[in-house]
Amino acid sequence: MLTTVAQAVVNGLLIGGIYALVSIGVTLIFGVVKVVNFAQGEFVMIGMYISYFLASRFGIDPLASLVVSMPVLFVVGVLLQHFLIRRVLGLGDMPQIFLTFALSLLMMNVALMLFTADYRTVQTAYTDLAIHLGPIYVAVAKLIAFVVAMVLSGLLWVFLHTTDLGRAMRAAAQNQDVAMLMGINPDRVFCVALGVALALAGAAGSLLMPFYPAYPMVGQVFVLMAFVAVVLGTLGNITGALIAGLMMGVAESLGIQFVGADSGLIVVFLMFLVTLIIRPSGLFGGWAR
């Protein structure tokens, strides 16, 4: 019994790392630019296809392809901000929602056209490997993904707290007008925020590739959890999104184990609702300090 619970918690934490990585991207964009990016999952999908094609054409390990998928998606993020999102920023919520939602639909369907609906998997030496610690097992590919996700989150935290650009980003997030008065160029900051957020989505894609099949709709699997994690961890709060992502992974896993395999999400959303009743603005009422 104890083994079963421990195994369920381990499984939940491992997938929670991926939820966290996707939701940190969403919460970063929302925190800084004040736009909800509904297409975040589709950028994960792009990251997966980049890794898939590098692996299948050139034999590059999906983890090594992080150094391609992250920069590529960083540039995509900067361009996205500069050419599309910037133009709808002053127009209120609806145009922003439509823009990113339309982008999501567009990307899924273009991917369907270009890559077909086929499932694409990459076989690596560690795809089916697991480390057995007594009765508990830890899948190697998922463990690597989890560790890299945590490292990237840590690096982001360091970036936001120790570099000028990072501080400028937090300043712009807290109060855009005052930040401008202090000589911060919001356009530049917003471009970097989008770039970093999409680079994280790309990283999530590359990290998923050794153990999850790529297909055009794959982003939808992760994005729902990511959005809940963003709200649960307080909108715009990066540490909050990280912790909420992990919590949701564990809640889902325990739910499947002890309530029913089609009830994992019921447990997640119950936890979500209870949290919102007690703390209406999520677990952390503010920007991480």
Binding site: T4, D128, E252, I256
Partner: protein, 407 residues
């Protein structure tokens, strides 16, 4: 004939619809066949397949198989009683969508003078197509497995292969071969496909001496299969029947491997028996079991068809595609005996079809004769196992080409 049909449809659907339809028909005929030839030179056969949409990949493979079958019939001299008339296959894309299936079946029937139809891979789509075909009185053959296709007194629907209810029994009988005391975990995706299949398993299990220790619905499209696998592990099962779509199946099989669980797995039909499954999971598919209505190694003719298909498309011919070749030869046999392209006469000839040799009889059991409900009275499923990257028939004895390997 063609004109009066078009006029009638124009009245029904309005001018724009009429224009698109006739333009489409002209285009299609221009590409598909030498329309200037004498009427008796070709026999039109309709094929309804989901070439786009969620089932696109399998749908396209069905079309490949159907084309190969028509070419085989034509290369062998066509329909001799019709002066060597060639079969002309007209494919219609039903887009993996029930609404489109209805309109496309309608369009196909009203645009062409068809002698017979085959289609549409997925039972949900076929159930719609047969409604339209029944009304138009055009015979329709299908490899879809839903038992519903044989209910409701249909007269133009023919199902040459094993039914869904027979699949469950075969899966349970195979369990007894793998273990003396099978303790089975059934995990199934919680929509129509998963629930109906798993209920069939649960109903028949006690009668066949199989104990079900876990009966667990799950929501398809999960991010991680390991919680589900953890649950299977906790149940103490020694065998797993997943009723799943391909993506979930890949994740489940991998998670079981990672968990180090020693389980016999029988994935039934569907995505599990496609060449694509092996391509995706690789060597860990070895030893996994499945159930099919057709397999490419059950007789010499099947092997011949498989070799031809392999040459063209680089993979073995999958269950539905192979069955489709047999279906085309059943239609050819009926045309031969009817000596007419009239769908009513073709239907009557199909109803009296009785073959036990040749490509038309190429199926598990090796005989085809339709009962009044359109069911092949000899049909039974074949149990298969992934062995060295190939899908090998292992059950029942008379169809087995290799012994069933225990994990």
């Amino acid at each position: 004939m063609e004109t009066s049909r078009s006029q009638a449809s124009a009245k029904r659907h309005g001018r724009r619809d009429f224009l698109t339809k006739s333009a489409g028909a002209v285009l299609a005929t221009g590409i598909a066949l030498p329309r200037h030839a004498k009427a008796a030179d070709v026999v039109n056969i309709g094929g309804l397949y989901p070439v786009t949409g969620s089932l696109a990949q399998t749908g396209q493979a069905c079309v490949n198989a159907a084309k190969l079958a028509v070419q085989m019939v034509n290369d062998a001299g066509g329909i001799k009683s019709l002066g060597g008339a060639k079969l002309n296959l007209i494919i219609s894309d039903v887009q993996s969508d029930t609404t489109v299936t209805r309109t496309e079946t309608d369009r196909l029937i009203s645009s062409y003078k068809l002698s017979a139809i085959h289609g549409a891979y997925a039972s949900a789509l076929t159930l719609i197509a047969v409604e339209v075909a029944e009304r138009a009185k055009i015979p329709l053959l299908t490899g879809s497995s839903s038992d519903q296709l044989n209910q409701g007194g249909r007269r133009y629907t023919f199902t040459p292969f094993a039914r869904a209810s027979q699949f469950a029994a075969a899966q349970l009988q195979m369990a007894k071969l793998v273990s003396d005391k099978p303790k089975v975990a059934v995990v199934f995706e919680n929509t129509a496909f998963g629930t109906s299949t798993s209920n069939g398993l649960r109903e028949q299990a006690p009668g066949l001496g199989v104990e079900i220790v876990l009966f667990e619905p799950y929501s398809a499209g999960f991010a991680d299969a390991s919680p589900l696998v953890n649950k299977v592990k906790a149940s103490g099962a020694n065998m797993l029947f997943p009723v799943s779509y391909l993506n979930d199946l890949i994740l489940i099989v991998r998670s079981i491997k990672q968990a180090g669980l020693q389980l016999a797995i029988n994935g039934g039909s569907g995505g599990f028996v496609l060449p694509e499954f092996y391509k995706n999971v690789g060597p860990i598919a070895e030893g996994l079991l499945g159930v099919e209505h057709w397999n490419h190694d059950t007789d010499a003719n099947a092997l011949k068809v498989n070799a031809e298909y392999q040459k063209l498309y680089g993979e073995f011919i999958f269950e539905y595609g192979g069955g489709l070749v047999a279906q085309t030869f059943m239609i050819a046999d009926a045309l031969e005996r009817a000596a007419s392209t009239d769908p009513q006469k073709v239907r009557d000839a199909l109803a009296t079809l009785d073959v036990s040799s040749g490509y038309a009889a190429m199926c598990p059991g090796g005989k085809v004769k339709f009962g009044p409900d359109g069911k092949n009275i000899y049909a039974h499923p074949v149990g298969v196992q992934w062995q060295k990257g190939d899908l090998v028939s292992v059950f029942p004895k008379e169809d087995a080409r290799a012994p069933l390997l225990k994990a």
